[in-house]
């Protein structure tokens, strides 16, 4: 199945999926540019999958010079034999909950890998970028410290806005410009790549503050105006009430982790309608629980109406609903993602994809599949589309000029569907910025350079931002993320 790429995307602001700005490296990255020890490599004989270029399994050579893919190379330093193997862009985890504040407590039960292991597992699964969905104003430093400790993979994070901080401005239509500037300034100061809403409403646990409540419909209507006026885009964590609320302009909202919101057929139709109107979404397959003794509840109160539940129910229903949506939707706007803390990145998505591949009636869902899922679709949903949604212009494809993040999988054409999940769960070879990180399934470059990506908005801190920060338990200068709190930084304009 192919998609009309020109019609897939749209330009909305700096974070618009189709119009990422030029990539510029931060100060630290200029000193140690990624791929500085890369060489000239030819990957020969592999079956290439690159939906961005319309390449669907064609046997084709790939050339890499330094950290970039190039048109051709007269004399490569090294040739990687890929005959019979799948060559695809490296994976981009769109919703990898690996550094959320409080997640460390899950390690008490011994069934959540350390950050060092987690980084290695991601690399082994063919990923080079992980996007953490939950960074808040005062946990930004924590999240970035954790992301910096995640080896091998590049990272980025979403700033999850607490609308309680902005409720006065949301009620006042005359202050949208100021609000937009404050949000953009927050995004840059916390070094976040995009903006996220967990609770698209304002609600208080204290009855005394009930007069300040804003319902989801009101809030989303104001946020749409804000987004259109200030060129913003929001990832909206899906919930039943989000699907119920009218989204006046779906293109400014990306629906994240849809599976858990699809609690009945009507909501499935609402999600499909959002996608058909040009909105984007990710599926949010439930992370597979590791089994064994039941985990105890771990909840973190970040000042939202609901505490953050770090041990959500594994959600077989949510998984089935996500499968159903994936099977029914025919367009290009749906990415794959997982919902909940990531324990086994190598198995998280591959097992769900294998279930999508299974064409037997009733396999993994209640009805037979409406469409056949191919490798092309898998590359699109786990590489190309996530890269575009995050605004990583030089990732997720294999065109000349792209960064040489390439994964090779042992997946011969005659592999039975029952073995597909195993085959794509582990890559034979992974190149990150032209450096071989995994070779013959073994980690050969444990110290591969990595960086954290964020959006440079250029917005100045105004009085609204000062007001938001006024009542924090840290002074603003200690809320903002400085170079010392993370690894190498790369600012995207």
């Amino acid at each position: 199945m192919t998609h009309d790429l020109k019609s897939c995307f749209f330009e909305v602001g700096a974070g618009g999926a189709g119009g990422p700005g030029p990539l510029s490296q931060g100060k630290l990255s200029e000193q140690h540019p990624i791929g500085w020890y890369g060489m000239k490599i030819k990957i020969t004989g592999g079956r290439l999958y690159d939906p961005a270029q319309g390449i669907n399994g064609a046997e084709q050579d790939l050339f890499i010079a330094g950290d970039r893919i190039v048109e051709s190379l007269p004399q490569p330093d090294r040739v990687i034999e890929a005959r019979g193997r799948v060559v695809a862009p490296a994976g981009i985890e769109l919703r990898g909950q690996v550094a959320t504040y409080g997640l460390n407590f899950l390690r008490l039960w011994g069934r959540f890998p350390s950050l060092t292991e987690l980084g290695r597992l991601y690399a082994a699964a063919g990923y080079t970028h992980v996007h953490e969905p939950l960074l808040t104003l005062y946990t930004a430093g924590y999240v970035h410290r954790q992301l910096a400790a995640l080896p091998l993979v590049d990272t980025s994070a979403s700033l999850a806005l607490n609308l309680r901080d902005l409720d006065d401005s949301l009620k006042s239509p005359n202050h949208l410009e100021e609000l937009g500037q404050a949000v953009k300034a927050l995004q840059e100061k916390t070094r976040a790549l995009d903006l996220r809403l967990l609770e698209p409403f304002v609600r208080y646990r204290q009855p005394f503050y009930s007069h300040r409540t804003l319902d989801a419909a009101q809030t989303l209507e104001t946020l749409t105006r804000l987004a259109l006026r200030c060129e913003l885009r929001f990832s909206l964590e899906a919930a039943p009430e989000v699907l119920e609320a009218p989204l006046p302009e779906p293109r400014v909202f990306h629906l994240a982790a849809l599976g858990r919101a699809l609690t009945n057929p009507r909501r499935l139709d609402q999600a499909l309608a959002h996608l058909d109107r040009g909105g984007t979404a990710d599926l949010g397959f439930p992370c597979q629980a590791a089994g064994g003794a039941a985990e105890k509840p771990v909840k973190v109160d970040l000042g939202w109406y609901h505490p953050l539940n770090l041990t959500p129910d594994a959600g077989a229903d949510a998984g089935a609903a996500a499968l159903r949506l994936a099977r029914q939707y025919q367009g290009p706007n749906l990415a794959f993602s997982v919902d909940g803390p990531v324990r086994r990145p190598e198995a998280a998505l591959s097992s769900w994809w294998a279930r999508l591949r299974d064409r037997r009636p009733g396999a993994g869902a209640d009805e037979p599949p409406d469409r056949e899922f191919s490798l092309w679709d898998w590359v699109w949903a786990t590489r190309t589309l996530p890269a575009r949604l995050l605004g990583l212009a030089d990732r997720g494809h294999l065109a000349p000029g792209a960064r040489a993040d390439v994964a090779l999988f042992d997946l011969p054409p005659d592999t039975p569907p029952s073995r597909w999940a195993d085959c794509i769960a582990r890559c034979r070879t992974l190149l990150k910025a032209g450096t071989v990180v995994i070779e013959d399934f073994a980690l050969v470059q444990p110290d591969a350079p990595k960086a954290t990506y964020y959006r440079r908005t250029g917005a100045a801190a105004g009085p609204l931002l000062a007001e938001i920060c006024q009542y924090r338990s840290f002074r603003p200068e200690n809320l903002w993320v400085t170079d010392e709190l993370g690894g190498d930084w790369v600012g995207l304009d």
């Binding site: 460390n104 390690r107 890998p113 060092t116 105890k296």
Partner: protein, 417 residues
């Protein structure tokens, strides 16, 4: 400036510096004062002696030596040890902690956080009861029911009641202490009683009985026997309010620590069924939280790692038996201050060499074979530290340092061994 006096990491200090000298610090408590000026914690007029040069014992007496000589001797001691212990680290920056973990791996040593006896029962209890957690900011904004159990914040982290827990004006606790109800449980009547609405003095050894009595009252089925005094009032206190927090201190872990924390965590979980209820350890050391974050990240467990175990790596909640080690490296702690006398004498009798890194002279440096003076994190050295709720801040260097940092010494040691 950020204060490294305790785990609060207050960031509202104002420093006056002139010509490379610190003249004045505003907003600081006594604990912070003792970090910025060479004075004792509880006696600001009594001076603490700064160690100026590396020291090494020659013929039993400490002599000033060069940095290289001290490094050589320390590397020799630690490199030759069959069972080394790396102790402390809760009062040093995160970068130094990372270097210490690297060194412990290299030495195949046991690494023991200085406050393991305090935190181990807490983490152990979470495995059984789960957790409702909130950062101090949310606690300040929302907690209207505050209980201190075996904790005296005025001694362990003096500005905690003002900035976060009692008098602080939060978003939904705008009138400070008037919007909160505060209680404390302790063996002795402490200063905390002056601002608590309810103070329960419990006899030593009856804490568990008090806790089980509270649980029974909450279930509406008080036992037939005589209850510990204050049980009913405390149960009534805890069952009200919209957001509760129990801050426990070292007093909760001195005796029957594991059993008591198990009960406290069970009580918090029971109360949490009806409203948010947080169980929060009141860490006194300024970067204890940072050390546990590091252990979680690197090893996946907050337990003390032992890299010298025959299985390669063993992690444990049990505190170390000092009798089994043949060399000790102390960083960011003063274990000789609280080590039982017989244990200290036994170490002396076995001639266990001690290497100590410290900016100030203390009991440990007095017993050490090699002493390295270090720069003060957050004043003379840039570092990163984690507030007691696990949120990191950057500590800046504001004064020139005449001494290397903990991290530099630990990295040099790792190279030299």
């Amino acid at each position: 400036m950020i204060c490294t006096g305790c785990g609060c990491l207050c960031d509202d200090l104002d420093l006056t510096v002139a010509e490379g000298q610190l003249l004045e610090v505003a907003n600081v408590c006594l604990w912070g004062l003792s970090r910025f000026f060479p004075c004792k914690r509880s006696h600001p007029r009594k001076e603490r002696r700064r160690i100026l040069k590396p020291l090494a014992r020659l013929n039993g007496r400490p002599r000033e030596v060069s940095y290289e000589t001290a490094l050589e001797q320390a590397a020799e001691i630690l490199g030759a040890a069959r069972r080394p212990l790396l102790y402390g680290l809760t009062n040093t920056g995160s970068r130094a902690q990372e270097a210490a973990l690297h060194l412990a791996r290299k030495l195949r040593a046991r690494l023991e956080p200085a406050d393991l006896a305090f935190t181990a029962p807490y983490y152990h209890s979470l495995r059984k009861h789960g957790l409702y957690w909130a950062p101090l900011e949310v606690i300040r904004d929302e907690a209207d029911t505050v209980l201190f159990w075996g904790a005296n914040p005025l001694h362990s982290c003096p500005r905690h009641p003002v900035r976060y827990s009692v008098f602080a004006r939060g978003r939904f606790t705008e009138r400070g202490v008037e919007d909160r109800r505060v209680a404390a449980v302790d063996l002795y009547r402490t200063e905390v009683a002056k601002f608590c609405h309810l103070f329960v003095q419990v006899e030593p050894g009856r804490e568990l009985q008090l806790l089980s009595g509270i649980r029974e009252h909450l279930e509406g089925a008080p036992g037939p026997g005589p209850a510990v005094k204050g049980t009913r009032k405390l149960a009534g206190f805890l069952s009200q309010g919209d957001f509760g927090v129990i801050f426990f201190g070292r007093g909760a872990t001195y005796n029957q620590g594991f059993a008591l924390l198990d009960e406290l965590a069970g009580l918090a979980a029971r109360l949490g069924e009806e409203r948010p209820f947080v169980l929060f350890p009141l860490s006194a050391d300024f970067n204890a939280a940072g050390l546990y974050q590091l252990l979680f990240n690197e090893l996946g467990s907050p337990e003390a790692p032992d890299f010298g175990h025959e299985s390669g790596l063993l992690t444990t909640y049990a505190t170390a038996d000092w009798g089994e080690f043949d060399a000790v490296l102390v960083v960011g702690a003063d274990p000789w201050w609280f080590l039982p006398e017989e244990q200290a004498l036994a170490l002396q009798a076995r001639r266990v060499p001690v290497v100590s890194l410290s900016p100030y002279a203390n009991r440990t440096t007095a017993s050490a074979r090699v002493v390295f003076p270090t720069a003060l994190a957050g004043l003379e050295a840039a570092e990163v530290a984690y507030r007691m709720d696990g949120l990191p801040v950057v500590l800046k260097q504001v004064l020139p340092a005449a001494w290397p940092t903990d991290r530099e010494i630990l990295l040099d040691l790792a190279k030299a061994i």
